[in-house]
Structure formats: C-alpha cells, structure tokens
C-alpha cells in the first residue's frame, strides 16, 4: 500500500485501473525510457528530511520565522529601496482569492477577464502616476525593469553607452551591469555633487554615443533630482532619459513624463506589498507611445467580443518570446501579476486624495526627524529637497549605533559612508508608519542622549 499523502488523491485502486487502460503492468514501465545510468539506483534517489504533517510543518516554520526581527517588534528607519508602509487589510484579502492567486498567465482571455481587467486598471494607474502613455502589466522588480529599459534604450537608439548617476541604488547598478554584460554595451557612472548627480560631470559625459541617462527620482540618498535640467542636457542628442521613480513620491512630485522622461521604471513595493526580505515585489515599466512596440513582457489591451461587449486581452504579443522566440524584445515570460493586482487594490483603496495624504505624511515625518537631528547638532548631509529619506552623519561608528538602536527595538538606516566618502553616514527613512514617540526616541539615541 502506498502511503496516501494529503495533497495526492490517487489511490492504489485508481492506479491499478489507470495502468490497465494504458496497457502496462506497472508504473516502472512508464519510466523505462530513463537511461539506466541516470536513474536512481538507491531506494531514494534523493535524500531529504522526512515529510512533515501540517501541524509539524507550521510549528517548524514558526520557529524559523521567530529567529527574525520584524516590524511587529521593531520600528524600522531603514528604507533604501524597500519600505515599511501601511497596507490596507483588503489588499491581502483580495490576493488570497484563489481565482487570482492560482491562475496562470491569462492565455485564454474569455476565462481570465478578472485578471486582465485588473491589469488593465494597473497599467492605467501607473500611466497616471508617471505621466506616461503606455505601461506594461509588471516585471520582476524595479531593478530588472531598469535593466530592461537599458536594453530598450540601446536597441531603440542604436547607441552603445548608458550613463547612470552614482546616486542610483547600488543593487540597481549591479543589475544593469549584468544586463550590459549580456547584451554587450557599456555602462558608465557619473559622480556626485553632495548627495545629487554632478551636473557638470554629466554634461561632459553625454556625447553622440549616449543611449540613455539613468536618474533615480528621488535618488538613492533621498534627494530629488531636477529632471528638467537633466533632460535639457540630452536635447541635441539621440540619448533618452530613463527615470527610476519611487511611485509613492510621485503623489507629490511632478510626473517624470511631464519633465521629459522617455521611460519610467521602478517598484510598486511601497504600495501595500510586504517587504518579504526583498521579494516578491513588483517592477513597473512605462514609456512614451513611440516605444510601445518595444516594451518587454505582457501588455493588456481593451477590445470587444463578438457581441460587441467590452473585454480585455493580452495584446501586441508579437513583441514576446512565446511568439517571436529569438526576435522578441525580451525573454520575460512570468511577471509579477499578483503583486500588480495588490498594487491596484492598494491604489483603489487609498485613492486620489489618500495617496497625497500618505506621501505628505512621509514628507512631514522625514523633515521633522531631520530638523530635530540638526537641532541636536548632528550634521545632515542632504539638502532640504528630499522626500522620505535623507543622510545624517553619525558621531560614532555605524555598527555601534546600529547595535544600540537594536537594543531599543529600532532598526536603523542604511550605511552610505563608502558611497558618499564620508565617515559614519546613515541613510534614514521615515515613513507614515513611524509614530512621534519612535521618531523622538531615534533622535535622542542618535544624538547620544540614550546611553
């Protein structure tokens, strides 16, 4: 008798009947095509721990989870690309609906209208926020979206050099270097002036071989770059402007599309998606109309059925690998559709006014902490044009401060000492979730009052 597993419905009797229909005497006959030398020779080809019951599994996984410090016990002032934000409860409830969660890519649109419409709404909202014409229905994350943007830029301009600011997220830099290694173009860093891109250096770096300039908005150090000025440097060239934007900040900041961006990418993690140790999050990818047919991955379009009723389908599929194979605009197949759905639920709940309120609270909180720290005599390395992140210079070694904060149930900021060539430089993030008590405690500890 086979041990019946809770996920497997087939019984020994079923197996017997099926084998009879197939016309073989045992399961082994169905595996006889696997060459002897590559086949399992032992009882178990693979050696794994014994199977756990559901109860044993949850007990064990809880033990593992309990070894991690979480936002339930600690106040996080750590951002640097991943943020601890408010997420309305309904986001999770919608994601748990199995009709969304357990569906595949909507290859049969007539049976996938819910997903397709939700992604169409997602595309619309991303275009609204970024000021762009066309958005796809998500990519793996913000950094891979940026890599895809570099591939698009070099292919569209037929130029081989991509310039990026040193004020770009360090992992985004790593990812675009990998993309460039693949497609064999060059990427070059432009230095800093304080916590922002050095305009003089950027100006002299741009030349006729420039495919694109990448600017983060706000940049990695929290500072809001002047996209209009940067776009003007590209005026007489074929080079295009790629902006990687925090979509929450776009509730307050002018839309990149209005300031000259050709491609806007980023991650919608701030919109209700759990930090989850860095993934799964949700890359977005938006372009001006002229690049529509070069966009990677799935795009949903509106159409009608044969009775004239509105419906939605995946469209412009001749860009994609499952149709075009080696001639596709990208190799992307899976995306992050479920998180795009989560993003939409978040935006639908928070809405037009709510998103501005939430962004304004981030601005208020971060500027409050900055002002308090400055009042206590600490040096703030950022100018005042920041959103919810800024850099402060600590008066003690970084790790010493981090450990002290942990003792007080605070997770401190990200170490940017090397990036800024400053001693003990901490990138702090203050979201709407932080209370005044938490902020005041942080200030007092950083100012050395809590020892």
């Amino acid at each position: 008798m086979t041990n019946q597993h809770r996920y497997l419905p087939t019984t020994d009797q079923d197996r017997k009947e099926m084998l009879e229909t197939i016309g073989v005497s045992s399961i082994k006959d169905l595996f006889s095509d696997i060459p002897e030398s590559t086949r399992a020779t032992k009882d178990k080809a693979i050696d794994l721990e014994d199977a756990l019951s559901e109860q044993a599994l949850t007990r064990y996984m809880k033990e593992l989870a309990a070894k991690n410090t979480t936002t339930e016990s600690h106040a996080y002032f750590l951002g640097a690309g991943v943020y601890d934000h408010y997420s309305p409860s309904i986001v999770n409830h919608v994601l748990l609906r199995s009709e969304f969660m357990t569906a595949y890519t909507p290859y049969q649109p007539e049976a996938s209208q819910g997903e397709l419409q939700a992604l169409f709404e997602f595309q619309t909202m991303m275009c609204e926020l970024t000021g762009m014409d066309v958005a796809n229905s998500s990519l793996y994350d913000g950094f891979t979206s940026l890599g895809e943007a570099c591939n698009l830029a070099t292919s569209a301009t037929k130029k081989q050099n991509v310039l990026y600011s040193k004020a770009l997220h360090p992992q985004a830099k790593e990812v675009i270097h990998t993309y460039a290694y693949g497609m064999e173009y060059s990427v070059k860093e432009v230095g800093l002036n304080g916590t922002r891109t050095d305009m003089d250096e950027l100006k002299s770096a741009i030349d006729e071989d420039t495919a694109a300039v990448i600017i983060q908005y706000p940049n990695f150090f929290g500072t809001i770059e002047d996209l209009k000025e940067i776009k003007s440097l590209l005026e007489d060239t074929k080079g295009i402007l790629i902006v990687m934007a925090n979509p929450l900040a776009l509730a307050l900041l002018e839309a990149p599309g209005k300031l000259g961006a050709d491609i806007v990418v980023g991650d919608t993690q701030p919109f209700g998606i759990p930090m989850s140790f860095g993934g799964p999050h949700c890359g977005y990818f938006a372009v001006k109309k002229k690049y529509m047919r070069k966009v990677p991955s799935r795009i949903v379009g509106q159409t009608t059925d044969k009775d004239g009723k509105r419906g939605f389908v995946m469209t412009l599929q001749t860009r994609e690998q499952h149709i075009r194979r080696e001639k596709a605009t990208s190799n992307m197949s899976s995306n992050q559709a479920l998180l795009a759905l989560g993003t939409s639920v978040f935006l639908a709940a928070v809405g037009k006014v709510g998103l501005q309120e939430m962004a304004q609270q981030n601005l208020n909180h971060a500027h409050y902490v900055k002002k308090e720290l400055a009042d206590k005599g600490l040096t703030v390395l950022s100018d005042n044009d920041f959103f919810n992140e800024f850099v402060v210079k600590l008066d003690r070694p970084f790790n010493e401060v981090t450990d002290q904060l942990l003792d007080h149930h605070i997770v401190g900021g990200f170490d940017v000492s090397e990036a800024l060539n400053e001693e003990h430089a901490m990138l702090l993030c203050v979201t709407e979730k932080r209370t005044k008590e938490e902020m005041d405690q942080l200030v007092s500890l950083l100012a050395g009052e809590g020892k």
């Binding site: 497997l8 999770n92 990998t178 044969k306």
Partner: protein
C-alpha cells in the same frame, strides 16, 4: 450569466470617497514649496479612483468571479504544471517573521530567513544533483539568462569567449530559451527534432563545433518525451567544448527518478511555481533558482548564503561572479512556500508526485488516442501532445476546441505549442487531480471530438458560458487601447 459585473474602477469612482484611514500625525507639516522648486511639484494629481472599502472589495470580488484558477477547476495547461497550491503555505509566507522583514536589516537579525534559504538550497541540490544553488533568479526565464551568462563567463575564463558564440536550441524548446540566449548576447542555432520527437543525434553532431557555447534542453521535452539519448547528447556537446543547460519547466516528471546532474547537465533552473507548488498569481511571481556543477560555482550570481558554525551570512566577495540578476535575495516569499512544500512532501512524496503525474498523463493520453491524432506514440512523461488535424479537416480548429473546453468548466490546454506539431494541444494533468476529474475531462474532449463531426457550430462558436464571448484580438493589436480612455 445575466448579471456579470462589468465596471472599471474609474467608472464607479466619485470625488470625496475613500477606503483607507491613516493615523493622526502630530508632527508639523512641511510645505512642498519650502523644499522644492515649483517645476518639480506635482501640478495635476494622478487620477486615481475614489471608492469606499466595500466598493473596492466588491469590485475585485466581481472580477475574481470572472477568473479561473486551480481551485475553480481542472487546469491542464501543458508545461505549466498547474498543481494544487497548498493553503498552509500561504499562511506560512505571511508569518511576520518572513513577510515583515527587510533585506538590509543586519544578518544577525535575519538568521531564520538566511537559514531557510540555506536549507532550501541544500534540498534543491539534492533534487537536481547539482553542487550549488542560487535562489536569486525571479523566474525560469531569468534563470535561463543567468545560466547562459555563466556559460559566457566560463568560456571567457577559458579564453574561449570570442570563439564560442552559439547556443543550440531544439525546435521544440520553450520560446524563452532562444529569447534568453539573445539577451545573454548569443546567436541561436535551432536543432530539428527527429521523427520520434527528440533531439536528432545527427542534427546535433552537424551543429556542434568550436563555436558552440552550449545546448539548452528541456527533459522531458515539451512533447512530454524523455530524451532517451541524453547521455550521448551530453557527451557530444561536452566533447565539442560546450556546456549543457537544463530547462527545469518539466521537472515534475523526474523528481526522485533521475536528476539533471546525473544526466550530465552543467547548469539547471527549476520553476518553483511549477514543480514546487507555489501559486502562479495570474502570471507571477515565480521563482527560478539555478543550480551549477562545482566547476561553475565561481561564476554564480552574487551574493550567496554561507554557513559558518551555526551562523548564516551573506557573502559578496565573488570576483568571477556574473553579478547580480535581481534585487536582494530573489523572490524570497515564493521560496518560503516552496521550502514548506518540500518539507511537506519529503523524498518519497516527491517521487510519488512524479509517478502520479506521469501515470495521469499516460492515462489521459490512452483515453484520448482513439479520438485525436497523437503524433508520438511512445509513452509520455508528465504531459503529452495531441494534434487537432483530424478536426481541422472538419472545419474545427484547435483554438475552437480550447474555447469549447471552457464551457465544460475546464481551463484549456496549452495550444499551438510546441510549434512543430500542427494544431497542437499540449496537456498536463498533474498529480493533484483525482481520477474522476481526469475522466470528466476525457469525456468532454471525446464529446467535443464527436461534436466536431456532428455539431461543429457548438465548438466553433464557443465559449457560450463565460463572461464574454470570443474576443477580437486582432483589433486589439492593430488599434491598441492599453489604458482607460476618459470620455
């Protein structure tokens, strides 16, 4: 089906409604005009919807009712392994110790997460027969790309980077294979399948040479057939100086039966959202970890997780690495679910998974063989292909058969793929479907085959019972409307 919900968020929005609440903030307000020049301050608010909480919930419930998931019904989508996604794994991934942790928090405060990743890597090494695993790739296609960049780095390290510029891909391969080769900077050479639906040894021998970087192979292949000559294939490619890449999309057929490592592959990816039960989410997120043999370890994506005594740490000092392919640690939340699945199954359970998946596919194939053309007669692994050529002669296309299945309460198989089979239907039943379900599907397929002869209109006009009828995809592509147009 009279009252189908059909509104867009933007159509039910009214100014002034809201579906959220933020806490009162007691700190003073910062005026944007005090910190930013005017041209960087948003002039027009983004037109996002304004709705109450119930309206939002009802909207998405309405949409979900127009969507088909695994719990709605049988989902025989070939090469996609639409097996049951255990509910408890959703609970686990939502534990705050997994969901509410930051990738940059100090490693000493994330030991549980790092331990989980380390243990999952160990398990996947065992399952694949490889020597090291990276969990960073977000999906199969990204795993392919990372794997091919490893090929590239390896050949460069051997001074053969300039010389080896070609990736061989069988004509039955997933579309991602050639597409991934291109974004890794390679030229693609297609290998024709032989009459048995497998890689032709002669065609392969003719294609390999000093310019070969490697071969990408799915085994069992997309026709559901095991590449019986795999040992010889590996020898031919290796002797020519190339490497072998295993596309793990079809790994559900071989768990505990064989490993890509034993077959001779050098780099492997697995789709954790296929064989390892994590939900597909309507297109993602997935997770596509890669595994490599010892001699390729140095080129793997960075960072890596290492164990020292009882402590887990993140290491970044890998000078020969291809670098980073994705942010942070990959799709960690997906990896949590996959690990929970492996721990729920154990080695015996995984082996049973493959046995039942293969049994189910062969059973369905046997039941359908009298009614549809089966281009390849040998036993299949976890999936098989039918050809709708017989029905096409009656004026009924494979697309019609797919649409008609929707009316029976099933999702459709993968259609028109692989490209080498005319009017192809690719069927993968998975191990988690009960025999009654398989029989119901077979009965429906048989009835459709009969209708193709007697009542073709019931097939060509399908679907009749869904929220919409057959959609006009041609106009959608010719005149794209990809955002809501306000009137």
């Amino acid at each position: 089906m009279t009252a189908v919900y059909n509104d867009l968020l933007f159509e039910i929005s009214r100014p002034g409604r809201k579906g959220y609440s933020l806490p009162e903030s007691s700190v003073e307000k910062t005026a944007l005009t005090d910190v930013l020049p005017e041209h960087l301050i948003r002039e027009e608010a983004a037109e996002l919807p304004e709705l109450s909480e119930l309206q939002v919930m009802r909207h998405y419930t309405g949409l979900s009712n127009k969507n088909f998931g695994i719990e709605t019904g049988f989902y025989p989508l070939g090469s996609c392994t639409m097996k049951y996604n255990p509910k408890v794994n959703e609970d686990i991934a939502r534990y705050s110790g997994f969901a509410q942790i930051h990738p940059f928090q100090p490693a000493k405060t994330a030991q549980g997460a790092l331990e989980l990743m380390y243990r999952l890597e160990e398990n996947l090494k065992e399952v694949t027969g490889m020597d090291a695993i990276s969990l960073q790739p977000a999906a199969g296609a990204q795993g392919e790309w990372a794997g091919l960049l490893i090929f590239k780095a390896y050949h460069e390290a051997n001074g053969e980077g300039e010389q080896r510029r070609k990736i061989l891909v069988p004509d039955s391969a997933h579309g991602t294979n050639p597409a991934s080769a291109v974004v890794a900077g390679y030229d693609v050479v297609e290998i024709k399948s032989n009459e048995q639906g497998r890689v032709g040894i002669d065609a392969l021998k003719a294609a390999v040479g000093p310019d070969t970087a490697g071969l990408m192979l799915t085994n069992p292949n997309t026709l559901g057939l095991f590449e019986v000559d795999i040992v010889e294939i590996a020898e031919i490619v290796h002797e020519a100086g190339g490497l072998l890449y295993y596309d793990g999309a079809n790994a559900n057929a071989i768990l505990g039966k064989s490993t890509p490592g034993e077959m001779g592959f050098d780099v492997v990816h697995l789709n954790l959202h296929k064989s390892f039960s994590t939900p597909h989410g309507g297109g993602g997120p997935g997770s596509g970890p890669i595994g490599v043999k010892d001699y390729l370890k140095a080129f793997m994506p960075s960072p890596r997780i290492e164990k020292e005594g009882d402590t887990y740490r993140v290491t970044t000092d890998h000078p020969q690495s291809i670098g980073r392919v994705k942010g942070y640690f990959g799709n960690f939340g997906v990896n949590v679910r996959a690990y929970a699945y492996i721990r729920s199954m154990g080695a015996e359970g995984l082996q049973q998974v493959s046995e039942d998946a293969v049994l189910h596919a062969n059973y369905l194939k046997a039941r359908l063989e009298p009614y549809y053309d089966t281009p390849y007669s040998s036993h299949c692994k976890h999936e098989f292909v039918l050809s709708g050529v017989r029905q096409k002669k009656l004026g009924v296309r494979t697309l019609d058969i797919a649409k008609r299945l929707l009316d029976y309460g099933f999702y459709a198989p993968t259609v028109y793929f692989p490209l080498i089979v005319e009017e192809c239907l690719m069927i993968e039943p998975t191990e988690t479907e009960a025999k009654e379900q398989l029989d119901a599907f077979a009965d429906a397929m048989i009835e459709i085959a009969e209708d193709a002869e007697k009542n073709p209109d019931t097939v060509t006009g399908a679907p009749f019972t869904k929220a919409v009828k057959r959609l006009d995809e041609v106009t959608a592509a010719r005149k794209p409307v990809v955002t809501y147009q306000r009137s």
